[in-house]
């Protein structure tokens, strides 16, 4: 089905190297794109070092699950081997309340170490302070967790940040400008410059992973789409693919093209919205109005094609719940895209706009790699990762994607990445539509299994992992939208020689949601 024929260690020097002494990694579920192996807690540090030193290996996620017996915790470390079309899941049964401090080796693990501590009560060795991720400080009511609550919680810290010298802290949020999500900025400034910035994201944590436990995948999909409504398609696709890989379902080619059509429509409207937000943040109200006109037209195309402006309800387990109406893709979509391009052409010729974007919110390639960033933010910083062509799944084995890439890592490079991706999405949509797209296959078999799924959302790689019990219900579901990844670079981007009026510009260029990280 896929162009991937072998992903075994035989053909992959990295894996062969790693596997020495522990046997070959096995495919996870019915999916040759994800391999897994088990290492002991004693070997974990060693393997993390080896992977962290491997070029092309990227820490994609870290999460825990309840082990067997249930008072034990299984640590799941997920690495993406982007050059080898594979994900590698390393599972470790932990004993006791500590495990090696993985973020000392792979800094991208830090947020998840904090999260795992809150949810399962196990923490990295050493006394590194851990931040609050999801559990609010005023939670006098006992918040349900995925595992056991920590026995002892540190005081309020905002690691690795500290206020010193002449700087003072300027709190902002969680209620912000009109129609913005709730988010708290701890802005440390000396008057104008951004000395430091930290975010509190627990204000809207809804406990989704906890809610999904025990649900059947079809019912769970409803909540998965609502984890981050602005990437409903990508997150639902990742989740559906995880269930498919766990149970051996294969969506038919027409249904996989339906998903890809919806995914590209999702990218178009999100990029239009990001550009409108960039105009707003730079005070260019005419540009904002133009981009909003294009955005509204794109949302209407979504409704005309799939019956929902935000494309909820398109993806199904094993296929697609809805078939697209291809008519509007030939008539209204080209007009909406032309509208968007016309606005962008004007913007790209407006120096007062470009000047605000250039050299603002810079992320270096090194930072993007170290923090494991994904999506346009990573691509604009010169990291060529795109799940659509590095982790092949239908229909992308048939329909090649040419990803955008920048080098300078500033807001301007992100804007230009959006522009290139708008063109590429429009091209993909016509190609997919030409090949035909159908609905079909929307129930999952009631059987046990584990699987990983992925999709490239407008913000970058979305991941989902499921463990299903024998009756087909969810034992553990992990959702990892791109937002959960990229917010961790926001403070770095804001700190690089910026004044605080640049923050809204940087936020618009990241185009993340709080919902996705506080899911």
């Amino acid at each position: 089905m896929t162009s991937r024929t072998t992903a075994g260690p035989r053909h992959n020097p990295v894996l062969a190297e790693l596997a020495t002494g522990i046997g070959s990694p096995q495919p996870l579920g019915h999916d040759s794109g994800t391999l897994h192996f088990t290492v002991t807690a004693a070997d974990l540090e060693h393997f993390t070092h080896r992977l962290a030193e491997t070029a092309g290996a990227r820490l994609a996620d870290l999460f825990a699950a309840t082990g067997d017996p249930p008072d034990q915790v299984v640590l799941n470390m997920l690495w993406a081997l982007d050059a080898d079309d594979a994900y590698l899941l390393i599972q470790t049964q932990l004993r006791g309340e500590n495990y090696p401090a993985l973020s000392d080796i792979a800094p991208a693990a830090f947020v998840e170490e904090c999260e795992i501590f809150e949810q399962f009560g196990v923490r990295p060795a050493g006394d590194k302070p851990l931040n609050r991720v999801a559990v609010p400080p005023q939670a006098d009511h006992d918040i349900p967790r995925l595992g056991a609550a920590p026995r002892h919680v540190d005081g309020e810290v905002h690691a690795p940040h500290a206020v010193g010298g002449h700087a003072f802290e300027f709190p902002f949020g969680p209620v912000r400008a009109s129609a913005q999500e709730s988010l708290y900025y701890g802005l440390v400034t000396s008057g104008e410059e951004v000395v430091d910035l930290y975010l509190l994201t627990w204000h809207k944590y809804r406990g989704l992973e906890w809610r999904l436990q025990g649900m059947l995948p079809d019912a769970a999909l409803f909540y998965v789409e609502r984890a981050e409504g602005l990437s409903a398609v990508a997150q639902a696709w990742a989740f559906a693919a995880a269930v498919e890989h766990a149970t051996g379902l294969r969506p038919d080619p027409g249904a996989s093209r339906t998903r890809a059509l919806a995914l590209e429509l999702e990218r178009l409207y999100n990029h239009a919205a990001a550009i409108a937000a960039l105009c707003q943040a730079t005070g260019l109200s005419v540009g904002q109005a133009g981009a909003e006109i294009a955005l509204e037209r794109l949302l209407r195309v979504n409704a005309a094609v799939f019956g929902h402006r935000y494309l909820f309800g398109v993806v199904g387990i094993g296929g697609a719940q809805r078939a697209p109406d291809l008519g509007p893709l030939q008539t209204e979509l080209p007009e909406a895209v032309a509208e968007l391009r016309a606005v962008c052409r004007l913007l790209s010729g407006t120096n007062s706009f470009l000047d605000r974007l250039e050299a603002t919110g810079i992320l270096t390639t090194e930072q993007a790699v170290r923090l494991g960033l994904v999506g346009p933010v990573a691509r604009a910083a010169g990291v060529a990762i795109d799940a659509r062509n590095q982790h092949l799944q239908p229909p992308y084995d048939d329909v090649a994607v040419h990803p955008a890439q920048g080098t300078t890592g500033d807001v301007l490079a992100r804007y230009q990445t959006f522009l290139a991706e708008i063109d590429e999405s429009a091209r993909l949509i016509s190609e997919l539509a030409r090949r035909g797209a159908t609905a079909g296959g929307t129930t999952s078999p009631r059987k046990a299994g584990s699987g990983l799924g992925w999709a490239e959302s407008p913000r970058g790689e979305s991941l989902a992992y499921v463990e299903l019990d024998g009756d087909g219900s969810i034992r553990r579901a992990r959702l990892r939208p791109a937002s959960a990844r990229n917010w961790r670079a926001f403070d770095d981007a804001c700190r690089s020689q910026n004044v605080f009026t640049d923050i809204p510009i940087i936020e618009a260029s990241f185009w993340l949601t709080v919902a996705g990280t506080a899911r």
Binding site: Y223, G287, A303, G307, Q321
Partner: protein, 113 residues
């Protein structure tokens, strides 16, 4: 900047005339909460609808389907299993000052099976 000005003129007026006119024609493509076809609704169908509705907008009380239009997300899942007993209502002007006005009691007239 003059380019921006010209562009502003060229755009013409896109603004909806609502509420002066009814909602624009494109709104016909929006998802809407279902209407139930009472004579096609039997208990088994009603129970299937209740089971499939993710946000529990539906519940059955005897021979009535209690339907909370406020809780309905217009997800369309009930339309799929209803076998013709539910159709989109086409209603989009649903706002109200009385929450209870959104709760409908639908008679199950298709008999007990």
């Amino acid at each position: 900047m003059s380019l921006w000005f010209l562009r502003g003129l060229r755009r013409g007026v896109v603004t909806t005339r609502y509420p002066k006119t009814p909602p624009d024609p494109w709104t016909a493509t929006l998802p809407t909460p279902p209407s139930f076809v009472t004579d096609r609704l039997d208990i088994a169908t009603a129970d299937a609808l209740v089971a499939v509705c993710p946000p529990a907008a539906l519940r059955r009380e005897g021979l009535e389907l209690v339907y909370d239009v406020g809780a309905c997300t217009a997800c369309g899942r009930c339309l799929v299993v209803a076998d013709g007993a539910a159709v989109p209502s086409g209603q989009i002007e649903l706002a109200t000052q009385r929450r209870e006005d959104l709760v409908k009691r639908v008679a199950i007239e298709g008999g007990v099976q």
